[in-house]
């Protein structure tokens, strides 16, 4: 809740989401500038900062992509104001060049970069571990284990950043960002920091001359980390088995030690400073242990760096266990309390007090249908994928569909008739499509369709579109414009005309951009199924680069703006299974609002789920689906 992040109530405890705590920490540090590109699990942070921007006296923007956001923060830092940059782990890979340059140039005003990692890739295409980038770019990194630490680390991160004149990274994960717990508030500074003029000889320059300075900053960070209160040890002085952990692993380890009654023999070293590692502190604990279990999210990052400490210290003689060592924890996937407990059971052979749990034999268990992700009721993407599927079915030759990142990524699954042949990262669909579209000269004659959403178009498709136009690639580029960054929670983008701070601004037209590159653009409405299917078909028959914009607002947003129209099935007109349509509305169309009543053997609308778009009414062969006020489409 936004009011918590600006509440001037020092020492008051609230239930705060990790992302709220991060935003609060930045405000307690007197942040003046915040920039981000949305991505789960980090999106809420900038949304909240934007909403309180006026009250907190800060500037917040949803940048066009992550490189823009980090670049903007570096600019603000040059004028010695404090800036917060936020992104998800995939974004951190987008900004690799900016990050490695920033590390060489250093910063002036405190700059904290928060990265929300997504172990198990709950809402991502991969579970990249951000810590590799901190090491690669020689940047200090902090990892909170609690929501309280999330707040406190971000706040302290600004001080550290100014002390070192270096960017500081904070790695959150889904369970921190989207978890909630008690957070005690600190004080909010009365005034935020004002910009300092940049003098004639002030410099922030990223060239290799500064490599030595960059490494010195890392050494300084290591010294500071040796005594940081974010690292701590609990357990006996001479623990034979030592757990080294960070982030979520702290609570999981603590609970496992308690459940197995191992407090007397197992110690836990919890690290909050995870790059560079406080080697003296770690070595001190390694000297006493015979076995070490490393518990961490995603990659064996701590583990491999601890292995390095062991390699450089021949007097250490111990067994290292973890995601790599003896594979005691799986090499991929998110941690949970059971994984950590089982690892400890494996190592110690201690068993927990049995819980009375009934195990039902498999053949007596109810068969539960899986719950696939799907497009929301009334989603325009459902219509777009239906059109593409129809077109490619009637087109000669097997069309190749290049997907991209957004809600429409689900087009590669059941919801979109498994239409994707290719899926990469943001902006990869059109780039790879451009390549395929050049192969005609070698006899490749399949139609190539690349897709992108509106936010993705701005984020990373424009250079690729220029590339495709300049080299006249034979492909159809379809922009699925639903006027929203829908997947991450409807953040505005440059096509919307609204900023993160709620101010109106001039929207940038996707059509104008595409036309200014010299492409001919066709605009169509995906809800007009028949006409748009013909449009796609005729475009595919043309040579060279074609661009189609399918425009229809995200249904979840649209329904918030207007009264929902009632849609219903006239049972006298629905012919049930005798129709010959094969239950088209539920089985083929697949909208969650179209359900089947087994008792009457007819289609019905689930009124709780239906948003009233009425597209199904235009598709029902019996005309049995009725829409309040006629059949006009939204």
């Amino acid at each position: 809740m936004e009011w918590m992040i600006t509440a001037n109530e020092p020492n008051k405890t609230y239930l705060m989401q990790g992302n709220e705590a991060i935003a609060r920490g930045a405000i307690e540090a007197g942040v003046s500038f915040a920039a981000a590109y949305p991505g789960s699990p980090s999106s809420e942070i900038l949304t909240m900062l934007g909403n309180v921007s006026e009250e907190a006296g800060l500037y917040a923007e949803w940048s066009t992509n992550e490189s823009c956001s980090l670049g903007a923060c570096l600019g603000a830092s040059f004028a010695k104001v404090r800036s917060l940059c936020i992104m998800k782990q995939n974004g951190l890979l987008v900004v690799g060049d900016v990050l490695h340059s920033a590390s060489l140039s250093g910063v002036k005003g405190g700059l904290v970069l928060v990265v929300g990692d997504d172990p198990s890739a709950h809402s991502s295409t991969n579970e990249f571990d951000s810590r590799h980038q901190a090491r690669s770019a020689a940047l200090p990194m902090l990892e909170p284990a609690t929501m309280q630490e999330a707040k406190d680390m971000v706040k302290w991160g600004f001080d550290l950043s100014e002390q070192l004149q270096q960017l500081v990274m904070v790695r959150s994960v889904t369970r921190i960002s989207h978890g909630r717990s008690n957070v005690k508030l600190g004080e909010i500074p009365e005034e935020s920091i004002k910009p300092t003029p940049i003098g004639e000889w002030d410099r922030m320059v990223a060239i290799n001359w500064f490599k030595a300075a960059q490494l010195n900053k890392l050494d300084q960070a290591r010294e500071i980390f040796e005594n940081s209160p974010f690292n701590w040890y609990v357990g006996p002085v001479d623990a034979e088995l030592l757990i080294i952990t960070c982030g979520t692993g702290w609570f999981y380890s603590q609970e496992a030690v308690e459940a197995l009654d191992l407090k007397e023999s197992v110690g836990i070293l919890k690290l909050g400073c995870t790059w560079p590692l406080p080697e003296k502190l770690i070595t001190k604990h390694l000297e006493k242990a015979k076995r070490v279990l490393v518990v961490e999210e995603v990659d064996p990052f701590l583990e491999q760096n601890i292995a390095q400490i062991i390699a450089y210290n021949p007097h250490l003689n111990l067994e290292l266990l973890g995601r790599q060592g003896q594979g005691i924890i799986s090499r991929s996937g998110e941690l949970n309390p059971d994984i950590v407990r089982n690892a400890l059971i494996n190592i110690t052979n201690k068993l927990p007090v049995e819980i009375e749990k009934v195990e039902i034999p498999a053949d007596e268990m109810v068969v539960l249908p899986a719950r696939d992700l799907t497009f929301c009721a009334g989603c325009p993407h459902r219509a777009s994928f239906f059109i593409l599927k129809q077109t490619l079915r009637i087109h000669e030759g097997q069309g190749v569909v290049m997907g991209d990142i957004g809600c429409y990524t689900m087009g590669g699954q059941r919801a979109g008739h498994y239409l994707y042949n290719y899926l990469g990262c943001m902006g990869a669909g059109i780039s790879a499509g451009e390549g395929l579209g050049q192969l005609e000269r070698f006899g490749f004659d399949q139609p190539v369709i690349a897709l992108a959403g509106d936010s993705t178009f701005f984020h990373s498709c424009i250079p690729a579109l220029i590339n495709a136009k300049y080299h006249d690639s034979n492909m159809l580029f379809v922009i699925l414009d639903n006027s929203a960054t829908a997947m991450t929670g409807f953040q505005p983008h440059p096509g919307i005309g609204l900023t993160a701070m709620g101010k109106t601004t001039e929207p940038i037209s996707i059509k104008n951009i595409v036309e200014s590159i010299g492409c001919h653009v066709t605009v169509a409405n995906p809800f007009e199924i028949e006409e748009t299917t013909e449009t796609v078909y005729s475009l595919l028959k043309k040579p060279g680069l074609k661009v189609l914009i399918l425009e229809q607002e995200c249904a979840t947003l649209a329904v918030r703006k207007s009264e929902k129209r009632k849609v219903w099935v006239d049972p006298d007109l629905c012919r049930g299974d005798d129709c010959g349509c094969g239950r088209f509305c539920s089985r083929v169309w697949g909208c969650p609002g179209n359900i089947w009543d087994d008792e009457t053997g007819k289609a019905v609308i689930d009124e709780v789920v239906c948003v009233g778009c009425g597209v199904c009414a235009t598709l029902c062969p019996a005309g049995a689906i009725k829409v309040e006020g006629g059949e006009a489409i939204g």
């Binding site: 819980i355 749990k357 268990m365 109810v366 799907t374 809600c407 083929v588 789920v609």
Partner: protein, 205 residues
């Protein structure tokens, strides 16, 4: 002094499908516990699950210490379900012989069922299996009751009313009411108060 819990930590799972309002309901519940002085943690699984996927929240409260955001398998004391197959999925993993289960029996059909590749199980079969797994199983027609009260979306608060009435939940009606007052006003507040009471009374009886 914070009231001792009959079991510490008390573990509550709230599960359903994206869009049913369980995140909000859980947040309000957690806030009420923090206001009472408990160490409270809430773990939420959503994100892509907004798109019709399963959503699950873990709420853990303790007098003594903070716990991690995820409940270990078999250690849920109470499971509140917004959807029948989701509650069974969760009960298999997190319930034990002492667990209380309360759920809305209104199905939300997964895509596989809509397109005819899978069959939605009978509610009585779900109840039978839940009864073998848990101590106490109760159906509350939360969505239908919320529709009658004014808005299907209030089903989440109705189920929070039911949860509050479970004997070992250390929360009084007035304490949840405080957080309702913080977050809602006007008609929405009145509706939420009304459905909360409906849910509460259905369990207290």
């Amino acid at each position: 002094m914070v009231k001792e819990l009959s079991k510490d930590p008390l573990n509550i799972v709230i599960c359903g499908v994206g869009g049913q309002g369980n995140i909000l309901a859980t947040e309000l519940l957690g806030s009420a516990f923090v206001d009472k002085g408990y160490f409270t943690t809430v773990g939420e699984t959503y994100g892509a699950s907004q798109r019709g996927g399963s959503v699950m929240s873990h709420v853990r409260i303790s007098v003594n210490t903070e716990y991690g955001v995820l409940i270990p398998q078999g250690e849920a004391d109470i499971i509140i379900g917004f959807e029948p197959i989701e509650i069974l999925r969760v009960a298999r993993e997190f319930a034990n012989k002492k667990t209380w289960v309360i759920f809305d029996s209104r199905p939300n059909y997964p895509l596989g069922v809509l397109i005819g590749e899978a069959v939605y199980p009978k509610i009585e079969d779900i109840v039978n299996e839940l009864e073998r797994l848990c101590a106490h199983v109760q159906i509350i027609e939360a969505t239908d009751l919320a529709v009658k009260a004014g808005n299907s979306q209030a089903a989440n608060i109705l189920l929070m009313g039911a949860l509050t009435a479970v004997p070992y939940v250390p929360l009084e009606v007035e304490e949840y009411d405080k957080v309702l007052v913080q977050r809602f006003k006007g008609n929405a507040l009145e509706l939420n108060r009304k459905v909360f009471k409906i849910g509460y009374d259905l369990v207290k009886k």
